[in-house]
Symmetry: C2
Subunit: 388 residues, 2 copies
């Protein structure tokens, strides 16, 4: 199949920042792209060849869009699965497969999958709704504390809560959920795996998510993780197994915990380019986005090693600011070696909205870490208006 | 000035592959772009915010386009200078300045400029037309052999010819030209300088153009050049001087010869992103395109050092093929470590048409050189039709 400067059509469901970064590589290879997104202001709207506005959860919309393209992929999991399944049944190449996505979209099913394939993960129990969780606690069948997770539509910590006392359940949605054992961990790690339909498979180096000591928020994604090689090998091996068991095609970001006794257990996965791989644009031989593209087109996978150490800092809207975005001090951080801001293109900021990220690369990881902290303490995503 | 996700408008004259690669960075920074190009199929047409079709040599077209934007730059020198000069007089920021471009567009004026500023360059004589060259030869005022160069509108070896006997002048255009002394050289070198209006200035490492032994054609651009450090320092120092003397803003690619006695002399310059800097996308801390953008917006310049060794191979249309382009064996070279093809997006190939380039990066330059040769011998730019 000739993908390059040809009539071949790649369809992408979702037109957000992940799609936007994927489009750098479709442009580089001159691959024709069709993008579907509900927003008129989607970051992908320019740089794709054909943009369509529509609801990603609507069967007809997704099905009809899929009929226009030769290969279909997505940059967000919240898409209409039935439409994808029908398209795949009708012979369209849909990567990742809806069969895989079905196993991942629901965290209860995802956890069951790990157990079935003896992939290490924290103990859990599934519940049809919040009420039955309460009942189990009252019957002391469920011990406090535990981690509550709604099984669907959670993202960015949304839909996850640590329950230390029964009252912590107040105001949580009465939806299907799981209760997960709290695992004390040393590090939160992630490994991105890429795999093509021919079965070529590669892992990126293990990255480390460094959390803010007080606020339970990832502050830095650090590549390579500053951990023992044995733990790295273990993490990469587990990530490979997860990808193979899912028979996954494309990118799979495997999030893991390094326990206090240096065991590695799987937390959850994302079947797409992932925040923990953004550093790869500057630091890796092949970015995660290029490798996603190579994978879904069944091209050979690119080298996943790093050229230099890379650290990523997310740019999220400051509390107290809403309106036209201003990146305060961005000129200042641009003056520092190896600092590259990525601005996603959202014109309006809101508290905690993901507006972009900054990559810091350096031959020396400690130096990169020092600069990353300066970046974090210098740039601010504010607006021309204060909230009232 | 707030450039990022704002109403700021950057205008780019020319929508070819250089503009296309520049747009990766305007997208990354979410800077609004306006592009003017004569072709409906310009590679920039998608990925810019607003595309205008029009003649770059037409005063009205360029002037009116310039009136739409806040800062104006170009990716090709063949633009209407009078329009740029009027826009600059009226207060528009035009980078590089038409004053600089005026000194560069005409090779006779460019050579005079080097002499005025004691910048080493080959001896030459200016001629108003071809006839007067013939007269000088007959009067033996001009010795054979020499290099004939038309002063304007030459590009890619076009408009340059080695004259060994008077009959070599046959069929050359009877236009303003120069006759330049033939300098035997060891190496053809280039240094890209970036400079912003505040006067911050940086040079990229010296690159080496490796020529095909028989065909007098650049085959590989190699960074860093495999030359003595003293020669590198000399080349970078000369490039800095050239940029400062031109009071240049943006990128200036300075092409030089390393003579047999290790002198470095200037051949010619290009006031824009340059083929000799394409390797920087993969190999450098900051690509030449990002640094062009930083320079013309008077932002701090990015680090110009390399992360790894880089080699570029141009992809030009094979002789004998015209029509819908096919990149034969591209899947094969994608399987090799550190190999990245860039497809410019021209749907039709023609003999010697620049269709793309391939970058090879590696920690070891000899290994990169070996892979580059394999790339060169493997990928072919052909078409679905043979010429007759």
């Amino acid at each position: 199949m000739n993908y390059f400067s040809s009539d071949f059509k790649l369809g992408i469901l979702g037109g957000g920042q992940l799609g936007k970064m994927l489009l750098y590589d479709t442009r580089k290879f001159d691959i024709q792209t069709y993008v579907l997104d509900p927003s008129d202001e989607a970051p992908c709207k320019i740089a794709c060849d054909h943009f369509f506005k529509g609801d990603l959860m609507n069967f007809e919309t997704v099905y009809n869009f899929g009929k226009l393209v030769d290969v279909l992929t997505f940059e967000i999991e919240l898409v209409n699965l039935e439409a994808l399944a029908k398209l795949e049944d009708e012979g369209l190449k849909v990567y990742p497969s809806p069969k895989t996505l079905k196993l991942i979209q629901n965290k209860g099913i995802q956890k069951d999958f790990y157990i079935q394939h003896s992939i290490p993960t924290a103990n859990y129990k599934r519940f049809p709704n919040l009420k039955s969780v309460v009942v189990d606690i009252l019957d002391s069948k469920l011990k406090l504390p535990f981690v509550w997770k709604c099984t669907e539509f959670g993202y960015d910590g949304n839909g996850v809560k640590v329950i230390r006392q029964i009252s912590d359940l107040d105001n949580l949605a009465n939806v299907e959920c799981i209760a997960e054992e709290m695992i004390p961990f040393k590090n939160e790690l992630a490994v991105i795996v890429c795999r093509n339909p021919s079965g070529d498979i590669k892992t990126y180096p293990v990255v480390e998510m460094e959390f803010h000591p007080e606020a339970n928020q990832v502050e830095y994604v650090i590549c390579p993780a500053r951990i023992d090689d044995k733990v790295s090998e273990k993490a990469r091996a587990i990530a490979l197994t997860v990808s193979e068991k899912f028979n996954h095609v494309g990118l799979l970001a495997v999030e893991m915990f390094q326990t206090e006794d240096d065991e590695v257990i799987v937390n959850e996965v994302a079947p797409r380019p992932h925040n923990s791989g953004h550093y790869s644009i500057e630091a890796s031989y092949t970015s995660q986005f290029e490798n996603h593209l190579r994978a879904i087109l069944d091209l050979p996978l690119g080298k996943t090693d790093s050229k230099v150490a890379g650290i990523m800092v997310n740019l999220v809207g400051e509390e107290g600011f809403s309106g036209n975005v201003i990146y305060e001090n961005i000129e200042k951080i641009l003056g520092w070696d190896g600092v590259t801001p990525h601005i996603y293109g959202k014109k309006q900021t809101r508290p905690f909205r993901k507006m972009g990220h900054v990559t810091i690369i350096n031959e020396n990881i400690s130096e990169a870490r020092r600069i990353a902290e300066d970046v974090k303490n210098t740039i601010r995503v504010i607006s021309d208006k204060l909230n009232n």
